[in-house]
Amino acid sequence: MLQVNNLTKKYNGKTVLNMPELNIPKGQSFGLVGNNGAGKTTFFNLVLDLIRPTTGQVLNNDIVVNQSEDWKKHTSAYIDDSFLIGYLTPEEYFYFVGELRGQNKADINSFLGQFDEFFNDEILNQKKYLRDLSKGNQKKVGLVAALIGSPEVIILDEPFANLDPTTQIRLKKLLKQLSAKQDKTLLISSHDLGHITEVTNRIVVLDKGDVVKDIQTTPETLKELERFFTV
């Protein structure tokens, strides 16, 4: 589904990402871990064509992302709060994203029905603009909006950060359900090694821009990662 060829990103001669090759097959849930500055967000931004690569390219379903925009139809993401429109209410925001993804109001309403538990009565019908919600609640909105219109590729940057424990557990459940579906390709980054080993079946470790580990998730993975990050 996603294919990376010879991808590098340099800022003023300093390499922040160097990924000669990476292949993410359809249906995989792919985890990205690494310390601050390892290049996780840079990678996601490159996949989403929000920054330009210095060399190489990213192919999303055989489409080169910076040459055609057709990949946007089947791809969605939540990177940070720059993906939210502060002056809309959560409902309006969902409808807005929905319309961009070919879903009408009724579709969205029934879609939102399955997230009642996840929203915990703090999102819908609150008569508040997104800018007035707490960071955690904003994140819930962004995450759910990224699932609108059954996208095939879903990219979530640090989805667990800022969420309360209950919501973290609910999100884990949600992501597991998604990764169980054969047609969904998930890309998730996280600093929480426990969470990410639970919801993904492949983990790549980035260190200063380089891929240093690429492992299939097994019960031993968490131990292995903890050893790696213990310095």
């Binding site: 989403l48 064509d49 929000l50 920054i51 330009r52 925009e69 946007k72 139809k73 791809t75 969605s76 993401a77 990177i79 720059s82 993906f83 939210l84 429109i85 502060g86 002056y87 809309l88 209410t89 309006e92 807005f96 994203v97 319309e99 961009l100 993804r101 008569k127 508040k128 603009y129 800018r131 007035d132």
Partner: protein
């Protein structure tokens, strides 16, 4: 401490992405600033002689004193709508061992040194110089000058207060509107009062105390306003009220363009800074009245020539005040838009429609000018066509180079960021060229020719609208990464 703040401010200013552009543009901006100074100085230097020539039987200083009250009101309005209140990202300082007093003092210092204080100062320095040269009593002129300086400073602080206190703002609004209305209906002789006050400084120089009190009072009020606002909740507006949402159903007929149009309408209505544009439309439609009633020429033709300036304010300036912020108003969520299947052409079309809507609202509010003369309305019609055809696409084009972030979500001291120098330059060119074109045609060839040429150019623009929009869309896509990078810079 103040020195340290200043150095931070200096770094914030010079390290912003705003300077990372061509040297030529920066130099041009420098020239523009210089030009403004020269213009203000020459107004100050020539005002006396112009008045002397136009009204040989009256004392020019008396005339100036009569109208100082309107200048003073205008100055405050200009500040309210135009002046940026200095803001320092002071959040990091709040928990440092620093007295709030210091932070407030610093903000006030910066406010006192603003360009908006400096410009009128230049004007009045020139004027005072000429007056002394023309052998007015130099002691009186010094007191007079001091009074005006204090009034300017007072306005400066008052502006900060009314930006943060709606009640006080409304009191002043009612006072001014009422005063001007009563003056226009010859009930209250505002100009005589104004002249009376400034003439009285002759015999009772102690009256300068009134101005001292005015400035000090608002300085005190501004100081306390700032100190009160140095809290996270005052800053972030935790007192979110319940919101009423309106759906703008009529936009559905426009398809995808309608979706962005609807969003832009919400954007304008739900953010304080952008909502000013709506109120502005009403205010702007009255500018022509101001020219016709307060600055009439000797003959109707003469008044019509002056009205061209008003028409410019009422059309081109309305568009550019909003248009120069495209797409900065969307900067906070630009990455989101770029990651979606947003049809750029339709997105731009929606922004174009917003500007056009503003033009049409002003035009329909201006129908009453026909009661004065049909010619006024025809001039407005020609200018509106020109704006819709040429200026609005031009502003969209300009927006492709716009990389200055505006945070709509931020509730700090009034409006603070956004206007960049490049845009100032563009608006300057934008304003001067069409205005001169129309004016020269009107004076040299005739009313009909000017109207026909202007309307035709505008219609041509509308005819090739699709072509223009397509070209501009391509440019936006090409500039996307630069724009995204610029919008990430917080200051």
């Amino acid at each position: 401490m103040i020195i340290k703040f200043l150095s931070l401010q200096y770094k914030q200013f010079f390290r912003s992405s705003y300077w990372q552009r061509t040297l030529v543009l920066n130099i041009l901006m420098g020239f523009l600033a210089l030009y403004m100074l020269v213009v203000f100085l020459s107004i100050g230097l020539s005002a006396y002689f112009i008045l002397k020539e136009k009204f040989p039987n009256q004392d020019p200083l008396y005339l100036i004193n009569s109208f100082l009250i309107f200048w003073w009101i205008g100055d405050l309005l200009m500040r309210y709508f135009g002046q940026k209140i200095p803001e320092m990202a002071f959040r990091p300082f709040l928990i440092l061992p620093l007295k709030k007093r210091k932070i407030a003092q610093y903000i006030l210092l910066k406010l006192s040194l603003s360009f908006y204080v400096f410009l009128p100062l230049i004007l009045f320095t020139g004027l005072a110089g000429v007056l002394v040269y023309k052998s007015y009593d130099s002691f009186y002129i010094s007191i007079w000058f001091l009074t005006i300086l204090l009034l300017i400073l007072g306005n400066n602080y008052l502006n900060l207060v009314i930006n943060n206190n709606i009640k006080i703002r409304n009191i002043f609004l009612v006072l001014f509107a009422g005063g001007v209305l009563l003056y226009l209906s010859h009930i209250v002789p505002l100009t005589q009062w104004s002249a009376g006050f400034f003439e009285r400084l002759h015999n009772s120089p102690w009256l300068v105390g009134v101005a001292v009190f005015w400035a000090v009072f608002w300085l005190w009020a501004a100081y306390h306003t700032i100190k009160d606002k140095l809290y996270l909740d005052a800053l972030l507006g935790h007192t979110a009220q319940q919101v009423q949402t309106y759906d703008f159903k009529f936009t559905d007929r426009l398809g995808e363009t309608g979706l962005y149009y609807k969003n832009a309408l919400k954007k304008i209505w739900r953010n304080k800074r952008t909502r000013a544009y709506v109120y502005n439309l009403i205010f702007v439609s009255l500018i022509g009245l101001f020219y016709i009633k307060l600055l009439p020429g000797k003959t109707p033709d003469d008044t019509l020539r002056k009205f061209v300036m008003a028409a410019f304010f009422m059309t081109i300036l309305v568009s550019s005040s909003y248009g120069q912020m495209i797409p900065s108003f969307d900067s906070a969520y630009y990455p989101f838009l770029m990651a979606q299947k947003v049809n750029f052409k339709k997105y731009l079309k929606a922004e174009y429609l917003i500007m056009t809507t503003m033009n049409l609202i002003v035009l329909s509010l201006s129908v009453f000018y026909m009661f004065f003369s049909w010619k006024y309305f025809v001039v407005l019609l020609a200018f509106t066509t020109f704006t819709i055809g040429i200026i609005n696409p031009f502003l969209l084009w300009n927006g492709a180079y716009n990389t200055k972030r505006i945070d709509l979500n931020k509730k700090s001291f009034g409006n603070s960021q956004g206007i960049s120098g490049r845009l100032l330059l563009i608006s300057f060119l934008l304003g001067l060229l069409p205005f001169l074109l129309f004016f020269v045609l009107l004076v040299k060839v005739g009313f009909l020719a000017a109207v026909i040429v202007f309307t035709s150019i505008g219609l041509l623009g509308i005819l090739f609208h699709d072509y223009l929009i397509n070209k501009i869309t391509g440019l936006y896509i090409k500039k996307k990464y630069k724009t995204l990078h610029g919008f990430k810079q917080l200051n």
